[in-house]
Amino acid sequence: MSIGTANLSVDELKEMARTIRRDCLVQTHVAKSGHPGGPLSAADYLTSLYFNYVKVDPKNPKDDSRDYFIISNGHCSALNYALLSRRGFFPPGYLMTFRSTGSGLEGHPNRHKTPGVDISAGSLGHGLPIAHGIALGAKLKGSDQRVFVNLGDGELQEGSCWEAIMAAAHYRSDNILAVVDYNDVQIDGRTHEVMNIRPLDGKFKAFGWKVFEGNGHDMNEVIRLLDHAIDSMGKGQPVVVLFHTVMMKGVPSFENDHIWHGKALADDKLLQTALTELGYNETPKEAVASYGDVNVARGEYHKIMGWPPPQVCDRD
């Protein structure tokens, strides 16, 4: 395989997003920790973006001509890992090691431990400055690499984001595309109640960005928005798409409640409800089992990373 996109049909994207939602829920369930809420709100548009627009080579994650894909709100690591594994960087079975001691799939992504992760994230407000540095570097190298960066809406309360938003416009960095998970939720409640960031379109415009805005769950609209946004790149202005989303989208019993920002469906009963609502006819146990033997996956992962073979320890 070489550099490129996965080029899925709309129906394939929808099905992939469903798979990825399940991945996120099962990962956090097994880890009994982690963040399901953001991953489920960003699942549709990031699946579309990552599979159909971002050019990467899963067999050669550091390919010099790749596009960069950065999930700045690193607490959405479960989503990041699901996207990477489904795109072919490592076996999905390894997702079951999420957040366990010694796993490459840490609580927040670590660029030294996961293939396809370009930056280590976790502290909010770091992704955009780094992304902009990468974008400036691409231009300086004369490369047509593009930089895609996902931001949380709560994350946009960090001043460091606005520094980078200002700088990207100043440098007319048109090889950068930001997408915002505009779910109006953060840890302490609704974003507009915790610390209102609206109007986000007005803010980005006043800071010199080209802005698109729409529904982040309607796959046809997502594709239309991303097509337009990507067409707008290369025109002397950074571009952002504000995707209106719903936290925990896809599992109606949990939707829109901020407590799921950082709380796993650790309980079997909760996961059962969610799996059913996602349309999976399986028990939590069956779901976990479907990922196969974690030790096999671990072995493959270690091979990919060039790490010494894993010690199989009892605890797993």
Binding site: E106, S120, A121, S123, D188, M195
Partner: protein, 317 residues
């Protein structure tokens, strides 16, 4: 056999002590105000928020603004307690802590949740291993790490009474209850937790439990009886106690849940070499990132256990 490890102790959250005590203080003193940066659900300032909505300021994810705002409230005569994770208070807002709180000597209390590597699964970006170095370097700052639930209550109450900048560090996990409600507590003072004659172990925070275990291991295995000192204050440091221990008992092993550079052990080492040099071992995070994982796994990997402290004491005696 010495009972070590998880099962030996009763555990409780230090942040629970914090959240509960804030509510009590809120009732006692109308000048107490609380700020958080989108972590009220986790730092447990939500107890105060729900009781005193008018005196609670949610700042969102903007730690710099939170510290500056707290300084402003302090200038108006309020006593602001502000909360976030240790790594974000220190990392995102060090300049504000230094200029608006420390240099301006405003009466702000920096309450740092989720200190140390026992944060666990969230991984290195959330594990604060450097905050005590960064904060102890601030001139006017009082810096302390309560050992457990009871000591946290005392630390929070003391902070409210003390007029000036304070940084205290709490943890994410439940930690062993090692002190008692009536245990002594005083600014800048360490306390003999278990007395002994063969060297001294000086610990702060959750490492106090490990120091106690180390003593028991040493006694059982080698009949060695070190003194165990609980020293919650890094600044002011209890020079008198350190010198006394060095003189009376010789070798010192320190234990902290912090990078060895610039932390608790370094501060004590400075007092020791300047006053009464004795051999020391500094148990702390050995200049490495721990990765994400189970908190107790990580502590063990970093060598932050009673066993490790005991071995160090054997080395040095």
């Amino acid at each position: 056999m010495v009972k070590t490890g998880k099962d030996r102790w009763t555990y409780e959250l230090t942040r629970k002590a914090y959240g509960e005590t804030l509510v009590e203080l809120g009732h006692e003193n109308p000048r107490i105000v609380v700020l958080d940066a989108d972590l009220a659900e986790s730092t447990l300032t939500k107890f105060f928020r729900d009781e005193f909505p008018d005196r609670f300021f949610e700042i969102g994810i903007a730690e710099q603004d939170m510290v500056g705002t707290a300084a402003g409230l302090a200038l108006q005569g309020f006593i602001p307690f502000l909360s976030s994770y240790a790594i974000f208070i220190t990392g995102r807002a060090w300049d504000q802590c230094r200029q608006d709180v420390d240099y301006m000597k405003t009466n702000v209390k920096l309450s740092a949740a989720h200190g140390g590597i026992s944060v666990g699964k969230d991984g290195p970006t959330h594990q604060s291993m450097e905050d005590l170095a960064c904060m102890s370097a601030c001139t006017n700052m009082k810096v302390l790490v309560p050992a457990d639930y009871h000591e946290t209550i005392k630390a929070v109450r003391w902070s409210a009474e003390y007029e000036g900048p304070v940084y205290f560090r709490l943890g994410r996990e439940k930690v062993p209850m090692v002190t008692e409600e009536p245990s002594p507590f005083e600014m800048g003072k360490g306390f003999v937790h278990v007395d002994g004659t063969d060297g001294t172990i000086i610990a702060c925070g959750l490492m106090l439990s490990q120091a106690i275990e180390a003593r028991e291991i040493l006694e059982e295995e080698d009949g060695i009886k070190p003194r165990v000192v609980n020293m919650p204050f890094l600044k002011p440091i209890d020079e008198e106690m350190i010198i006394k221990c060095a003189k009376e008992n010789g070798p010192i092993v320190t234990a902290e849940e912090h990078q060895v550079y610039g932390g608790f052990g370094s501060i004590i080492a400075r007092v020791v070499v300047e006053n009464h040099p004795v051999p020391m071992r500094i148990v702390g995070i050995p200049n490495m990132y721990l990765g994400s994982g189970d908190p107790f796994d990580l502590l063990a990997i970093a060598g932050l256990t009673g066993r490790h402290i005991a071995n160090k004491m054997k080395e040095v005696l």
